[in-house]
Subunit: 158 residues, 2 copies
DNA sequence: GTCTTTCCGGACCGACTGGGTCCTGATTGA
DNA sequence: TCAATCAGGACCCAGTCGGTCCGGAAAGAC
Protein backbone atom coordinates (compact mmCIF):
# COMPACT_ATOMS: atom_id res chain seq x y z
CA UNK A 1 0.00 0.00 0.00
CA UNK A 2 2.95 2.28 0.58
CA UNK A 3 0.94 3.93 3.28
CA UNK A 4 2.15 6.02 6.15
CA UNK A 5 0.84 5.19 9.60
CA UNK A 6 -1.65 7.58 11.11
CA UNK A 7 0.70 8.10 14.01
CA UNK A 8 3.16 9.75 11.67
CA UNK A 9 0.45 11.96 10.28
CA UNK A 10 -0.49 13.00 13.80
CA UNK A 11 3.14 13.59 14.68
CA UNK A 12 3.49 16.09 11.86
CA UNK A 13 0.34 17.91 12.91
CA UNK A 14 1.44 18.01 16.54
CA UNK A 15 4.91 19.24 15.68
CA UNK A 16 3.59 22.01 13.47
CA UNK A 17 1.19 22.98 16.23
CA UNK A 18 4.09 23.14 18.66
CA UNK A 19 5.97 25.28 16.22
CA UNK A 20 3.14 27.74 15.77
CA UNK A 21 2.49 28.11 19.47
CA UNK A 22 6.18 28.60 20.00
CA UNK A 23 6.09 31.45 17.52
CA UNK A 24 3.28 33.16 19.44
CA UNK A 25 4.51 32.37 22.92
CA UNK A 26 8.19 31.38 22.83
CA UNK A 27 9.71 29.26 25.55
CA UNK A 28 6.28 28.10 26.62
CA UNK A 29 5.69 24.39 27.12
CA UNK A 30 2.55 22.67 25.87
CA UNK A 31 0.80 19.85 27.71
CA UNK A 32 -0.58 16.85 25.89
CA UNK A 33 -4.20 17.78 26.67
CA UNK A 34 -3.51 21.21 25.29
CA UNK A 35 -1.99 19.80 22.14
CA UNK A 36 -4.89 17.40 21.84
CA UNK A 37 -7.36 20.26 21.96
CA UNK A 38 -5.32 22.24 19.50
CA UNK A 39 -5.04 19.48 16.94
CA UNK A 40 -8.17 17.39 17.34
CA UNK A 41 -6.12 14.26 17.98
CA UNK A 42 -7.24 12.12 20.95
CA UNK A 43 -5.21 12.85 24.04
CA UNK A 44 -3.73 9.36 24.70
CA UNK A 45 -2.66 9.20 21.09
CA UNK A 46 -0.99 12.57 21.36
CA UNK A 47 0.86 11.29 24.39
CA UNK A 48 2.03 8.25 22.50
CA UNK A 49 3.21 10.36 19.60
CA UNK A 50 5.01 12.80 21.87
CA UNK A 51 6.78 9.99 23.65
CA UNK A 52 8.18 8.77 20.34
CA UNK A 53 9.17 12.28 19.33
CA UNK A 54 10.89 12.86 22.66
CA UNK A 55 12.80 9.63 22.20
CA UNK A 56 14.11 10.94 18.91
CA UNK A 57 15.06 14.27 20.49
CA UNK A 58 12.65 16.21 18.30
CA UNK A 59 10.87 17.57 21.36
CA UNK A 60 11.97 17.89 24.96
CA UNK A 61 9.73 16.95 27.85
CA UNK A 62 9.48 18.55 31.23
CA UNK A 63 7.85 16.67 34.08
CA UNK A 64 5.87 17.84 37.04
CA UNK A 65 3.47 20.68 37.55
CA UNK A 66 3.55 23.21 34.71
CA UNK A 67 5.50 20.70 32.71
CA UNK A 68 4.93 19.79 29.11
CA UNK A 69 6.61 19.56 25.73
CA UNK A 70 8.66 21.95 23.66
CA UNK A 71 10.30 21.87 20.25
CA UNK A 72 14.04 21.27 20.31
CA UNK A 73 14.60 22.50 16.77
CA UNK A 74 12.74 24.98 14.59
CA UNK A 75 10.39 23.52 12.02
CA UNK A 76 12.75 24.50 9.25
CA UNK A 77 15.28 22.02 10.61
CA UNK A 78 12.94 19.04 10.97
CA UNK A 79 12.37 16.96 7.88
CA UNK A 80 9.55 14.58 7.10
CA UNK A 81 12.07 11.77 7.14
CA UNK A 82 13.00 12.70 10.72
CA UNK A 83 9.40 12.38 11.82
CA UNK A 84 8.79 9.09 10.04
CA UNK A 85 11.92 7.58 11.51
CA UNK A 86 11.03 8.83 14.99
CA UNK A 87 7.52 7.40 14.95
CA UNK A 88 7.72 4.35 12.74
CA UNK A 89 11.36 3.41 12.87
CA UNK A 90 13.85 3.31 10.03
CA UNK A 91 12.50 3.62 6.54
CA UNK A 92 12.54 0.11 5.08
CA UNK A 93 10.24 -0.57 2.17
CA UNK A 94 10.83 -4.30 2.28
CA UNK A 95 12.35 -6.79 4.67
CA UNK A 96 15.36 -7.00 2.39
CA UNK A 97 16.76 -3.51 2.75
CA UNK A 98 19.79 -2.57 4.78
CA UNK A 99 21.26 -6.00 4.27
CA UNK A 100 19.18 -7.74 6.88
CA UNK A 101 17.90 -10.66 4.86
CA UNK A 102 16.31 -12.04 7.98
CA UNK A 103 12.80 -13.30 7.34
CA UNK A 104 13.41 -13.61 3.62
CA UNK A 105 13.23 -17.31 2.93
CA UNK A 106 13.72 -17.02 -0.80
CA UNK A 107 16.83 -14.91 -0.71
CA UNK A 108 18.75 -17.58 -2.56
CA UNK A 109 16.37 -17.26 -5.48
CA UNK A 110 15.64 -13.57 -5.24
CA UNK A 111 16.52 -11.71 -8.41
CA UNK A 112 16.36 -8.28 -6.81
CA UNK A 113 18.41 -9.00 -3.73
CA UNK A 114 19.75 -5.74 -2.45
CA UNK A 115 18.21 -3.74 -5.21
CA UNK A 116 15.37 -2.33 -3.15
CA UNK A 117 18.07 -0.30 -1.47
CA UNK A 118 18.08 1.78 -4.62
CA UNK A 119 14.39 2.58 -4.28
CA UNK A 120 14.68 3.02 -0.56
CA UNK A 121 17.46 5.53 -0.88
CA UNK A 122 15.56 7.49 -3.50
CA UNK A 123 12.54 7.79 -1.26
CA UNK A 124 14.62 8.65 1.75
CA UNK A 125 16.28 11.44 -0.18
CA UNK A 126 13.01 12.97 -1.26
CA UNK A 127 11.65 12.80 2.27
CA UNK A 128 14.75 14.36 3.72
CA UNK A 129 14.36 17.27 1.35
CA UNK A 130 10.98 18.36 2.75
CA UNK A 131 10.84 20.15 6.09
CA UNK A 132 7.84 20.67 8.32
CA UNK A 133 8.03 24.34 7.55
CA UNK A 134 7.30 23.42 3.94
CA UNK A 135 4.23 21.54 5.05
CA UNK A 136 2.78 24.22 7.28
CA UNK A 137 -0.28 25.82 5.85
CA UNK A 138 0.61 29.45 6.16
CA UNK A 139 -2.64 30.73 4.75
CA UNK A 140 -4.86 29.73 7.65
CA UNK A 141 -4.33 31.85 10.77
CA UNK A 142 -3.95 29.83 13.93
CA UNK A 143 -6.76 31.59 15.72
CA UNK A 144 -9.35 30.60 13.16
CA UNK A 145 -8.84 26.89 13.32
CA UNK A 146 -10.07 25.96 16.75
CA UNK A 147 -12.94 27.41 18.78
CA UNK A 148 -11.71 29.21 21.87
CA UNK A 149 -8.27 29.04 20.38
CA UNK A 150 -7.47 32.64 21.19
CA UNK A 151 -8.40 32.17 24.83
CA UNK A 152 -6.20 29.13 25.01
CA UNK A 153 -3.34 30.99 23.45
CA UNK A 154 -3.80 33.97 25.73
CA UNK A 155 -3.55 31.80 28.80
CA UNK A 156 -0.55 30.02 27.37
CA UNK A 157 1.21 33.30 26.71
CA UNK A 158 1.13 34.38 30.34
CA UNK B 1 6.07 2.14 8.66
CA UNK B 2 6.20 3.26 5.06
CA UNK B 3 6.32 -0.36 4.08
CA UNK B 4 5.61 -1.90 0.72
CA UNK B 5 3.30 -4.91 0.64
CA UNK B 6 4.91 -8.24 -0.05
CA UNK B 7 2.72 -8.62 -3.10
CA UNK B 8 4.53 -5.70 -4.70
CA UNK B 9 7.86 -7.23 -3.87
CA UNK B 10 6.76 -10.48 -5.45
CA UNK B 11 5.44 -8.65 -8.48
CA UNK B 12 8.84 -7.12 -9.14
CA UNK B 13 10.54 -10.48 -8.81
CA UNK B 14 8.04 -12.14 -11.12
CA UNK B 15 8.28 -9.40 -13.73
CA UNK B 16 12.06 -9.53 -13.76
CA UNK B 17 11.87 -13.28 -14.06
CA UNK B 18 9.54 -12.91 -17.02
CA UNK B 19 11.95 -10.46 -18.57
CA UNK B 20 14.93 -12.74 -18.21
CA UNK B 21 13.16 -15.76 -19.59
CA UNK B 22 11.95 -13.63 -22.47
CA UNK B 23 15.55 -12.72 -23.19
CA UNK B 24 16.55 -16.38 -23.36
CA UNK B 25 13.43 -17.65 -25.10
CA UNK B 26 11.57 -14.77 -26.72
CA UNK B 27 7.88 -15.01 -27.48
CA UNK B 28 7.53 -17.85 -25.01
CA UNK B 29 4.75 -17.73 -22.45
CA UNK B 30 5.33 -18.68 -18.82
CA UNK B 31 2.77 -20.50 -16.69
CA UNK B 32 2.21 -19.55 -13.09
CA UNK B 33 3.61 -22.85 -11.78
CA UNK B 34 6.69 -22.24 -13.85
CA UNK B 35 7.06 -18.73 -12.52
CA UNK B 36 6.48 -20.00 -9.02
CA UNK B 37 9.29 -22.53 -9.39
CA UNK B 38 11.55 -19.88 -10.89
CA UNK B 39 11.00 -17.32 -8.17
CA UNK B 40 10.29 -19.31 -5.03
CA UNK B 41 6.98 -17.55 -4.54
CA UNK B 42 3.99 -19.80 -3.73
CA UNK B 43 1.98 -20.60 -6.81
CA UNK B 44 -1.42 -19.17 -5.76
CA UNK B 45 0.30 -15.96 -4.75
CA UNK B 46 2.00 -15.76 -8.11
CA UNK B 47 -1.39 -16.17 -9.74
CA UNK B 48 -2.82 -13.34 -7.67
CA UNK B 49 0.09 -11.09 -8.52
CA UNK B 50 -0.15 -11.91 -12.21
CA UNK B 51 -3.83 -11.14 -12.24
CA UNK B 52 -3.15 -7.69 -10.89
CA UNK B 53 -0.35 -7.16 -13.38
CA UNK B 54 -2.56 -8.29 -16.23
CA UNK B 55 -5.23 -5.85 -15.11
CA UNK B 56 -2.71 -3.06 -15.38
CA UNK B 57 -1.60 -4.25 -18.82
CA UNK B 58 1.93 -4.95 -17.67
CA UNK B 59 1.64 -8.57 -18.73
CA UNK B 60 -0.71 -10.28 -21.17
CA UNK B 61 -2.38 -13.58 -20.40
CA UNK B 62 -3.18 -16.35 -22.78
CA UNK B 63 -5.78 -18.90 -21.83
CA UNK B 64 -6.12 -22.54 -22.63
CA UNK B 65 -3.62 -25.29 -23.08
CA UNK B 66 -0.05 -24.01 -23.53
CA UNK B 67 -1.28 -20.65 -22.30
CA UNK B 68 0.48 -18.46 -19.80
CA UNK B 69 1.82 -14.98 -19.27
CA UNK B 70 4.11 -12.72 -21.21
CA UNK B 71 5.59 -9.26 -20.73
CA UNK B 72 3.86 -6.52 -22.69
CA UNK B 73 6.70 -4.03 -22.33
CA UNK B 74 10.44 -4.48 -21.90
CA UNK B 75 11.76 -4.10 -18.37
CA UNK B 76 13.37 -0.82 -19.30
CA UNK B 77 9.90 0.66 -19.80
CA UNK B 78 8.34 -0.54 -16.56
CA UNK B 79 8.94 1.62 -13.52
CA UNK B 80 8.66 0.70 -9.88
CA UNK B 81 5.79 3.12 -9.62
CA UNK B 82 3.93 1.19 -12.32
CA UNK B 83 4.23 -2.02 -10.36
CA UNK B 84 3.19 -0.49 -7.06
CA UNK B 85 0.15 1.12 -8.63
CA UNK B 86 -0.78 -2.11 -10.39
CA UNK B 87 -0.61 -4.22 -7.26
CA UNK B 88 -1.48 -1.88 -4.42
CA UNK B 89 -3.45 0.82 -6.12
CA UNK B 90 -2.62 4.51 -6.37
CA UNK B 91 0.21 5.78 -4.23
CA UNK B 92 -1.40 7.60 -1.34
CA UNK B 93 0.67 8.05 1.79
CA UNK B 94 -2.23 9.27 3.89
CA UNK B 95 -5.98 9.39 3.59
CA UNK B 96 -5.73 13.09 2.87
CA UNK B 97 -3.95 13.03 -0.47
CA UNK B 98 -5.52 13.63 -3.82
CA UNK B 99 -8.16 15.82 -2.24
CA UNK B 100 -10.27 13.00 -0.89
CA UNK B 101 -10.68 14.14 2.70
CA UNK B 102 -13.06 11.27 3.26
CA UNK B 103 -12.36 9.53 6.53
CA UNK B 104 -10.50 12.49 7.96
CA UNK B 105 -12.65 13.74 10.80
CA UNK B 106 -10.31 16.48 11.89
CA UNK B 107 -9.91 18.14 8.52
CA UNK B 108 -11.31 21.36 9.92
CA UNK B 109 -8.47 21.52 12.41
CA UNK B 110 -5.76 19.97 10.31
CA UNK B 111 -2.76 22.21 9.87
CA UNK B 112 -1.29 20.21 7.02
CA UNK B 113 -4.41 19.81 4.93
CA UNK B 114 -3.36 19.14 1.37
CA UNK B 115 0.29 19.36 2.17
CA UNK B 116 0.96 15.67 2.10
CA UNK B 117 0.46 16.00 -1.64
CA UNK B 118 3.89 17.58 -1.66
CA UNK B 119 5.49 14.53 -0.08
CA UNK B 120 3.40 12.17 -2.14
CA UNK B 121 4.45 13.78 -5.39
CA UNK B 122 8.10 13.69 -4.39
CA UNK B 123 7.95 9.98 -3.69
CA UNK B 124 6.01 9.26 -6.83
CA UNK B 125 8.63 11.06 -8.86
CA UNK B 126 11.49 9.08 -7.40
CA UNK B 127 9.64 5.81 -7.95
CA UNK B 128 8.82 6.69 -11.53
CA UNK B 129 12.50 7.29 -12.18
CA UNK B 130 13.54 3.71 -11.40
CA UNK B 131 12.82 0.96 -13.91
CA UNK B 132 12.83 -2.75 -13.34
CA UNK B 133 15.89 -3.00 -15.55
CA UNK B 134 17.67 -0.88 -12.93
CA UNK B 135 16.67 -3.37 -10.27
CA UNK B 136 17.71 -6.51 -12.09
CA UNK B 137 20.74 -8.16 -10.64
CA UNK B 138 22.87 -8.58 -13.69
CA UNK B 139 25.76 -10.25 -11.92
CA UNK B 140 24.00 -13.50 -11.08
CA UNK B 141 23.43 -15.72 -14.12
CA UNK B 142 19.93 -17.06 -14.36
CA UNK B 143 21.02 -20.66 -14.48
CA UNK B 144 22.73 -20.51 -11.11
CA UNK B 145 19.83 -19.37 -9.07
CA UNK B 146 17.43 -22.31 -9.15
CA UNK B 147 18.21 -26.00 -9.14
CA UNK B 148 17.21 -27.63 -12.41
CA UNK B 149 16.85 -24.17 -13.82
CA UNK B 150 18.69 -25.02 -17.01
CA UNK B 151 16.47 -28.01 -17.64
CA UNK B 152 13.44 -25.86 -17.15
CA UNK B 153 14.77 -23.27 -19.52
CA UNK B 154 15.70 -25.85 -22.10
CA UNK B 155 12.19 -27.20 -22.17
CA UNK B 156 10.79 -23.69 -22.31
CA UNK B 157 12.98 -22.77 -25.22
CA UNK B 158 11.55 -25.49 -27.43
C1' DG C 1 6.50 17.38 53.99
C1' DT C 2 2.47 16.68 51.34
C1' DC C 3 -0.29 17.31 47.37
C1' DT C 4 -1.19 18.19 42.70
C1' DT C 5 0.13 18.05 38.06
C1' DT C 6 2.22 16.02 34.50
C1' DC C 7 5.12 12.66 32.08
C1' DC C 8 6.50 7.60 31.65
C1' DG C 9 6.02 2.78 30.71
C1' DG C 10 3.63 -1.09 30.03
C1' DA C 11 -0.43 -4.06 29.12
C1' DC C 12 -4.44 -4.64 26.70
C1' DC C 13 -8.14 -4.94 23.10
C1' DG C 14 -10.80 -4.43 18.78
C1' DA C 15 -10.64 -3.78 13.92
C1' DC C 16 -8.50 -3.86 9.73
C1' DT C 17 -5.88 -5.63 6.14
C1' DG C 18 -2.43 -8.44 3.88
C1' DG C 19 -1.03 -13.01 2.75
C1' DG C 20 -2.37 -17.32 1.51
C1' DT C 21 -5.69 -21.22 0.20
C1' DC C 22 -9.41 -23.27 -2.12
C1' DC C 23 -13.09 -23.92 -5.39
C1' DT C 24 -15.84 -23.32 -9.52
C1' DG C 25 -16.33 -21.70 -14.13
C1' DA C 26 -14.57 -20.14 -18.73
C1' DT C 27 -11.42 -20.56 -22.54
C1' DT C 28 -8.28 -22.62 -25.69
C1' DG C 29 -5.66 -26.15 -28.06
C1' DA C 30 -4.87 -31.16 -28.81
C1' DT D 1 -14.58 -34.22 -26.49
C1' DC D 2 -11.10 -33.77 -23.17
C1' DA D 3 -7.28 -31.90 -20.77
C1' DA D 4 -4.70 -27.89 -19.48
C1' DT D 5 -4.75 -23.39 -18.02
C1' DC D 6 -6.45 -18.78 -16.71
C1' DA D 7 -10.17 -15.99 -14.20
C1' DG D 8 -12.72 -14.65 -10.42
C1' DG D 9 -14.64 -14.97 -6.17
C1' DA D 10 -15.15 -16.58 -1.27
C1' DC D 11 -12.82 -17.65 2.69
C1' DC D 12 -9.62 -17.94 6.71
C1' DC D 13 -5.68 -16.83 9.59
C1' DA D 14 -2.29 -13.96 11.57
C1' DG D 15 0.03 -9.75 12.19
C1' DT D 16 -0.18 -5.05 13.01
C1' DC D 17 -2.12 -0.57 13.92
C1' DG D 18 -4.87 2.64 16.30
C1' DG D 19 -6.67 3.58 20.52
C1' DT D 20 -7.53 3.01 25.68
C1' DC D 21 -6.43 2.26 30.35
C1' DC D 22 -3.75 1.79 34.48
C1' DG D 23 -0.22 2.38 38.02
C1' DG D 24 4.09 4.63 38.98
C1' DA D 25 7.64 8.36 39.07
C1' DA D 26 9.28 13.11 38.89
C1' DA D 27 8.90 18.05 39.63
C1' DG D 28 6.90 22.07 41.24
C1' DA D 29 3.17 24.43 44.38
C1' DC D 30 1.36 25.05 48.83
Amino acid sequence: MLRLSKLTDYAVVVLIRLGEVDRVAPACVQTSPGLSAGTGVPEPTVAKVLKALAGASLVSSQRGARGGYRLMRPLTEITVADVIIAVDGPIALTACVDGSSVGCDVSSVCAVKGRWDLVNAAIQDSLAAITLADMRMASVPLAFRVPAESALLASAAE
